[in-house]
Symmetry: D2
Subunit: 296 residues, 4 copies
């Protein structure tokens, strides 16, 4: 395929490399043109503007650091939208806001162009090793048209429907999952360490019991299915145990705000009469506050 690629940062560079390696023709653009050199050796051509990189391409990728940069290369002067042919597709791989993704969808639609939102999971090393996990959402025909290129970028692809911004929702949710896990680990290590357990010891335990454990996917499935009874472990027991964590952390003088948050959620669940549901019914408590169906 004839491709464009705009944005050759730590992620963009190895992604463009893999597109070339898969046999595609690629015209690249980067603010600092020197970044493109290794790609030129692979056969890439360098454009002077994003618009030029988009010109004649069936699909043009963009991979930028933030909303400001992503919007500038797409909609700014000499941006992608100016060069892209009618019917061709802009694939945006940047981690951007849901709002900008909707704006790009509308802008390209007005220009008679396609827009696919396609953020990825994985670090630069994974990009280099073609081990990214790729998301995609947008009009079905547009996604299908891009599929060969998207599949050249990683080890798998999840398509999230026809509304492009859903891929951004999913990407942001993934980053939230990691950030939340970091807070979780931070509190667990602070608590155990100040209580007298060496981080190395707790790490071994984490490895043995939690790392790559099916626990989390079983609970994710329960929440996806909204199946909270019969309880494997009841919410009132969850409340008891998180209460014991907080008591011990108070004695050890370790603030654990996430434990406090979960404690308050369970306390509310029990107070509202849901103490016999499974402790994963946090899924229903949180949903209820968002105006979705709650516990039954």
């Amino acid at each position: 395929m004839k491709l464009g690629f705009v944005g050759l940062g730590n992620m963009g560079l190895p992604m463009a490399k893999n597109l070339l390696a898969a046999g595609h023709e690629v015209v690249v653009w980067n603010r600092t043109a020197a970044r493109a050199e290794p790609l030129v050796r692979q056969g890439a051509r360098v454009a002077a503007t994003p618009a030029e990189a988009a010109k004649g391409a069936e699909v043009v990728f963009s991979m930028l650091a933030d909303d400001r940069a992503a919007e500038a290369v797409a909609l700014g002067p000499q941006g992608i939208i100016e060069g892209l042919s009618k019917g061709a597709v802009h694939v945006s791989s940047s981690t951007i806001s849901v709002a900008l993704s909707q704006k790009l969808t509308d802008a390209h639609a007005s220009a008679g162009q396609g827009y696919v939102s396609s953020p990825v999971f994985g670090r630069p090393e994974a990009a280099d090793a073609k081990q990214l996990w790729v998301l995609a959402a947008g009009a079905k025909a547009d996604v299908e048209r891009c599929r060969p290129a998207l599949e050249a970028l990683g080890r798998g692809l999840t398509v999230l429907g026809e509304q492009a911004s859903m891929a951004n929702v999913a990407k942001l949710s993934g980053n939230f999952l990691i950030a939340a896990m970091l807070e979780t680990l931070a509190e667990a290590f602070a608590f155990t360490r100040k209580s007298g357990i060496e981080p190395k010891q707790f790490m071994e335990l984490f490895q043995s019991v939690f790392a790559r454990s099916p626990i989390f996917e079983r609970y994710a499935q329960a929440i996806a299915d909204e199946k909270y009874s019969p309880a494997g472990f009841a919410m009132r027991l969850g409340l008891k145990d998180v209460g014991l964590v907080l008591d011990a952390a108070r004695a050890a003088e370790v603030p654990m705000p996430l434990a406090s948050l979960v404690r308050d959620q369970y306390l509310g669940g029990v107070a509202q009469g849901h103490g016999d549901l499974d402790w994963s019914a946090l899924g229903a408590l949180v949903a209820e506050r968002a105006g979705l169906p709650g516990p039954r």
Copy 2:
């Protein structure tokens, strides 16, 4: 070995069964004696009191629902402490408070008896299938003496030093990890669902990218090692992305208190000049507030 086992609930019953199956002699006690019947058929003897179950045993296990019950069978009238021989060991497998564990340590020490705290990870089905993960902490000689019995209960054993209550700290931390993950998943599913992604779709993505992924153990290792630079993904980027999550969740009307918490942590980290550390440096921010060494 000659063993006692006090408390034949959903967890205690299969644990006692496995001790019998491993060839140990077991005298059992339960508030409702009828629960012991299947064990009797396996060769167990039924005692009339916890003290009697402990009498003559090298090691007596207890597995009760909460602090109140665990304290009653250990230290109450006709409790374990009354029947246990000097030098013999009480292994407490209940999920109890750190404070009660310390109280039991002292009480047994005063009586010339050993005390090993040995809570377990796993549900009743895992107990039945000998797939528990067993923790143990207490005087080295006591732990070693119990080891054959402890190894008969599960698929592995982690010893956490000579202070018995450390095993309770570790067990509670494990339950905290799960509860925190449940809140995380609850918020992620509410956010994606209300934004328009089917739970089934998000579940597939979770399976592909996060389930059994090495991500979490790599980050746990970073926090255990307090290694936060060079950044793989900088805290200021974490702040940006969690900010985007909250913006999108505000638009979709989904309260995400855990996302707010993490946002405020990152915002503080950046405000204090740590924005270039890896986003896992939440480990250092949380540690600092506990009076442990913070970010450097």
Copy 3:
């Protein structure tokens, strides 16, 4: 009246002084007897134990630093309960737990004695100037019997019914009100200061607009009456404004966890369809999570 007074700390000493000044006969006890000297000059007699201070008294006060001390002087060896006559009353003014207050109620009832819980609001200076505000709860006859002494301590008295521990609930709630206001002020000053407003300037504004303002009592009345419509200022406007606070605080790099909490409360309220209620309907949202009636 013949009174006893146990505990002559920063609060107890001026309180005992005022009882003497009101013409009561007072026998005092303190761990460090020398603290009693100024009272002796006023005519107090010094007892050797709490029990002795209680002996022959119609009413014995206790004012200690925490649960441990309060329990020790009441129920410990040579404690108040040993010396107090049947029908006489123990007035506990310490800020203690609700649980200990209930335990003291039961213990004194078993001994045929009365128990009145009577914590106070005010600092040592207020105690000295007879400007405390005094709470009291307990059996009606007991409270009435103590009334002359209670009225000698401060500028006013609120009686909170016949269940003694309700006075402790009220006292703790009052301290919570202050602590919460401290967090509120802390965040407001950090936000304004880092944004570029001098603390002195913001203090002047606080004085002009908020200090001694009827705003807070009007809102407290609305919550007491559960009257949330018609809205004076709608919850959706509250959500908007707290959102603007957080946006500005993000830009200024000021974490405001309380603002985040309130934002999430409002977001949930709006998501659940209550956006047109007055923003004080936080009262109903919080009540609902406690299993009380929620928004209508």
Copy 4:
């Protein structure tokens, strides 16, 4: 003075009325022109566009519901900026974002016009009764020029320096103070009510002890002065008392997330060695996390 007034909602209408009553000439504009009728009877002239209302005015006020409306009437087609003379001043009284206030500052400066940000505290009834408290920030000469009009609106005026957006920071902080107090009251009433105290009873206590009390201003002053020692009431006692609140609330099954937040703040303060500072040193803990000077 010759004034313009744009936006005759619940707040704008009585404000414009008071400007007319003070003898100013006022040209008004409102999206729904009929709203202007009572003002016309007072002598106001009705303009067809915001630009026309601004034309010839020394000062033009705007009072709109949100950022979108405020930006539209100021910078949109036929907006204030188009009609306002060079050297004349736009006074924006809307509660808008700090970011929009900065944008308006820049836009008017580029047009050679003045911009004063002047949000107000008070409900429509207060506006009607000329009881608003008025904030103002902007170039000194501009503020002085508007002063007669600003003073016609309320009972007092606080000037917050030359950077217009500081008035928005202050207004938002004020609304945050109220919203935070609402959460505080909501939790206190839920806790006392579910514990067994009638809301009416707790309201009486609130009236007696907290309403119009100097407590809050004394603490605000301490935080403004960063004076946290000697402690009137030490942080470790604050930790103890908020801990007792949470224990009692757990027993009564009342989630109190704000109490949890404050508890974690105090626990962190104590863990970091600040337990002997006054409990108002929350001011320093919060400041430190914002990158400002922390506890000493």
